[in-house]
């Protein structure tokens, strides 16, 4: 499958003097489980916000599924699902009310919305909280609901900003297998996470952003081949990440300065 799901060209976003994302050229093929990594403040969330229509780029182009986002935003949004930073929930609705609301916003008919809401609540183990409003959900429950809302319309691309943060191990396992099944069916998943082990286990391809610039992009094997390793040694994603971002030495020297702590 060679269809390009996400393509950006010189994508740039500035906040006053600060360039949060700088001339980014990103390519994600359809059906890939794509991990988007970077240190804090590198520009990950800004990129996701631009790719999902929550933030306008300063310059550059974005195409999702071959459609120009700036020219046809509604057409693109119909085909993507998003779990944004902060989850974007209406906290005064119950879980089922929120899913019905989202279903209708995505143009699903009432019967389909009802059916899918029920199935998703069941899958996410939220069905027994029918009368509980979202404000009273725990963080993990809110995360599961946000995920349910992101997939209710059967998106072709799914953007997930830290999807497993605060989700218990049982639910996380179920979610991971759900996401894996979705990619098997051709759905593209674009995921950011600080937990590199999760990214390594789930993602086939990875991009690393540092100080607003894309510094690496490719499959895990391609990234491994780009850095030096001893004979027979297979570098972990964490080692690749640290090697590319180049922070390990600096961290070590900073630690050495804190002699009173050690």
């Amino acid at each position: 499958m060679n269809e390009i799901a996400i393509a950006t060209e010189m994508l740039t976003r500035k906040f006053g003097e600060l360039t949060a994302v700088d001339s980014m050229n990103l390519r994600v093929q359809a059906g890939q489980f794509f991990g988007f990594l970077g240190p804090n403040g590198a520009g990950k969330s800004t990129t996701i916000k631009m790719l999902t229509g929550l933030l306008a780029p300063t310059s550059g182009r974005m195409e999702l599924l071959g459609i120009d986002f700036q020219k046809h935003p509604v057409e693109v949004k119909r085909q993507i699902g998003v779990v944004p930073e902060g989850m974007g929930l209406f906290e005064r609705l119950t879980g089922s009310e929120y899913l019905r609301f989202v279903g209708r916003m995505y143009g699903l008919d009432r019967a389909t919305t009802e059916k899918r809401s029920e199935e998703l609540l069941e899958f996410m183990q939220l069905a027994d909280r029918e009368k509980t409003i979202i404000a009273d959900y725990s963080h993990g429950m809110q995360k599961k609901l946000a995920l349910a809302a992101a997939v209710i319309h059967g998106p072709r691309i799914l953007f997930l900003d830290e999807p497993f943060e605060g989700v218990d191990a049982l639910a996380a396992g179920a979610l991971k297998s759900l996401l894996a099944r979705m990619t098997e069916r051709g759905v593209t998943i674009f995921l950011t996470s600080h937990v590199l082990e999760i990214v390594e286990r789930l993602c086939s391809h990875v991009a690393i952003i540092h100080q607003g610039r894309l510094v690496a992009q490719g499959s895990l094997d391609e990234l491994r081949s780009g850095i030096s390793a001893a004979e027979g040694e297979k570098k972990t994603l964490e080692q690749i990440f640290l090697s590319i971002v180049g922070q390990s030495g600096a961290e070590q020297s900073r630690l050495q300065e804190l002699t009173w702590l050690t």
């Binding site: 929930l89 209406f90 009368k131």
Partner: protein, 549 residues
């Protein structure tokens, strides 16, 4: 292993916390886009300062007069005034947001006595405490001027009184914090509070009617107040100033007794917090709800209403009934009609004396109700919070969101005006047919005429509000002025048109004029939607940043 630092001293910790509180106050004035708020804070500060200074003179004059003119027992009135003010003002100033600022200090190595002292110190820095202490000092100055012999007694009583007020205020605050820590109780409390404030409107008519008969019952309660702190402080000062040492010591020991009881209770509350009492909200209920997801199908709305618009209307309805404050405002219009008609027709004849005729009262009250009901439209995204992102992520045009919000509000206004009209007819009767239809047409014009500008204001000057909180829950300054200007303009136009009916001698002229204007404003409203859709895209970042903060 790192070296252990020496245990910090109590005064060092108190000093650090005092510094922290000052920094929080200072930094809160440094936020971006907050100039209007800063002007508001300065104005409020000046007003409060003038109020405190004026009251200092009043308390000085009070003590001077009571002690100088042989009425020392009246000093109790001054102490009572301070007591009530000191205990009530924190409730109004603090609002109903759960604040864990003080309790969060527990993560530092504090011992229980230090934590207790910090609690009292926090109370001393409150506006209510500072102003009350200034007033007590003014009373001391008054006593010193007119009767220096009373000063030692005043000093002892005042010191005890300050400590007692401080302890009771912290105790009430701590109980209040416990009650308000949970969302449901906080919203219930806010609802009761708002309802009490609205009920104050009925105080005057009730006093007019029942004042004389209730007076003896009220006076019968007064002797029982003599065992409360305000009276005890007054009695002790009075006795001390007249040399009645026995009565003086009874008063002082009674105050001391109150102080011991309040301190023990406060110590127990703080001890519970120190042990790690859990007050936080947001946890899921322990007991699962019964699973009864409804199976429904088919469309509820006519086909010409887009699903997204219908979804927004449904969401707005749920948000309104789950927001205690908004929900209560639904009851306000008929309550206000009852209140105004009580003034107008029955117990109090103020309106009659001023000769306000029914034909002006009817459009007047309708205009007032529209004013109340439409004000939230000028900041209609206030309660969306992070949910605003859903509107921008969904494959819809923002005009659908605005349409949904406006449609819901129009339905709400329609229902409210119908109920209010029914109450009005019950209270004062039906106006003439031309008056009725002209006023209703004016109502439709006023509502549709405001929607376009209200939508522009909501997109351009959003201000986040949180359900169940009072502190900082107001629209942005520009939105308030916009609403005021538009409502003044529309009110002026409506008044001139209604008067035109009188001038021309044709009672149907206003109806025709309002009908024409309504057609124009409805046309203008739909024409504006595309422009507002584009504006929503331009203001996207502002809205998301403001509401998701």
């Amino acid at each position: 292993m790192a070296d252990l630092i020496p245990f910090p001293g109590v005064f060092e910790q108190l000093k650090a916390v005092a510094g922290l509180r000052w920094l929080i106050t200072k930094n809160s004035m440094r936020r971006k886009n907050n100039r209007w708020d800063l002007i508001g804070i300065i104005a409020a500060g000046m007003f409060s300062g003038l109020f405190v200074i004026a009251m200092c003179f009043a308390f000085y004059a009070g003590a001077y007069t009571f002690l100088g003119k042989g009425r020392p027992s009246w000093m109790a009135l001054l102490f009572w005034g301070i007591f009530v003010y000191w205990q009530l003002i924190p409730v109004f100033v603090a609002g109903f947001g759960a604040s864990f600022e003080f309790k969060s200090l527990l993560r530092f190595p504090l011992n229980p006595p230090t934590f207790y002292l910090l609690g009292l110190g926090y109370g001393l820095a409150d506006f209510g405490a500072i102003s009350s202490i200034l007033w007590i000092l003014s009373m001391l100055a008054g006593a010193f001027t007119v009767r220096p012999g009373a000063v030692p007694a005043m000093l002892v009583v005042s010191a005890l009184f300050v400590l007692l007020n401080l302890t009771i205020e912290r105790l009430l605050g701590s109980w209040l914090e416990k009650i308000l820590a949970r969302r449901k109780t906080r919203e219930l409390f806010l609802g009761i509070f708002v309802l009490s404030m609205v009920s104050l409107n009925f105080l005057n008519p009730l006093l007019q009617r029942y004042g004389n008969s209730a007076r003896p019952r009220f006076l019968a309660i007064v002797p029982y107040l003599s065992w409360l702190p305000g009276s005890l402080a007054g009695q002790a000062v009075a006795a001390g100033s007249t040399g009645n040492l026995e009565q003086f010591w009874i008063g002082v020991l009674s105050l001391l007794g109150w102080l011991v009881v309040a301190s023990v209770l406060l110590w127990n509350r703080y001890a519970a917090q120190y042990r790690g009492e859990e007050l936080s909200e947001g946890t899921a209920p322990a007991k699962a709800d019964k699973k009864t997801l409804p199976h429904t199908s088919g469309e509820l709305w006519p086909a010409f209403v887009p699903p997204a618009v219908a979804a927004v209307v449904a969401k707005e309805f749920r948000y309104t009934i789950r927001n205690g404050f908004s929900f209560l405002t639904l009851f306000l219009p008929p309550i206000m009609v009852i209140f105004f008609t009580l003034q107008f027709t029955g117990w109090n004849s103020a309106f009659k004396r001023h000769g306000i005729p029914v034909e002006w009262f009817f459009p007047g009250i309708m205009a007032y109700l529209i004013l109340i009901l439409l004000s939230p439209a000028y900041n209609s995204f206030a309660f969306e919070g992070k949910g605003i992102q859903t509107y921008y992520m969904a494959p819809i045009r923002f005009r659908d969101v605005l349409l949904g919000k406006n449609l819901f509000l129009a339905i709400l206004v329609g229902v409210e005006l119908t109920i209010s009209l029914t109450v009005l007819i019950w209270r004062i009767g039906l106006p003439t047919l031309p008056q009725l239809v002209s006023t209703l047409a004016a109502g439709v014009f006023a509502v549709t005429g405001q929607f376009t500008i209200a939508n522009w204001s909501a997109l351009s000057f959003p201000k986040k509000m949180e359900i169940g909180k009072m502190r900082g829950q107001r629209n942005s300054g520009i939105a308030v002025w916009t609403a005021f200007g538009v409502q003044l303009l529309i009110g002026g136009v409506c008044s001139v048109i209604l008067l035109a009916g009188k001038w021309t001698g044709n009672p149907w002229v206003p109806f025709l004029a309002f009908s024409g204007l309504t057609v124009a404003t409805v046309g203008g409203y739909f024409a504006s939607l595309n422009g507002l859709d584009a504006l929503a895209e331009t203001k996207k970042e502002l809205l998301i940043e403001t509401l998701c903060r």
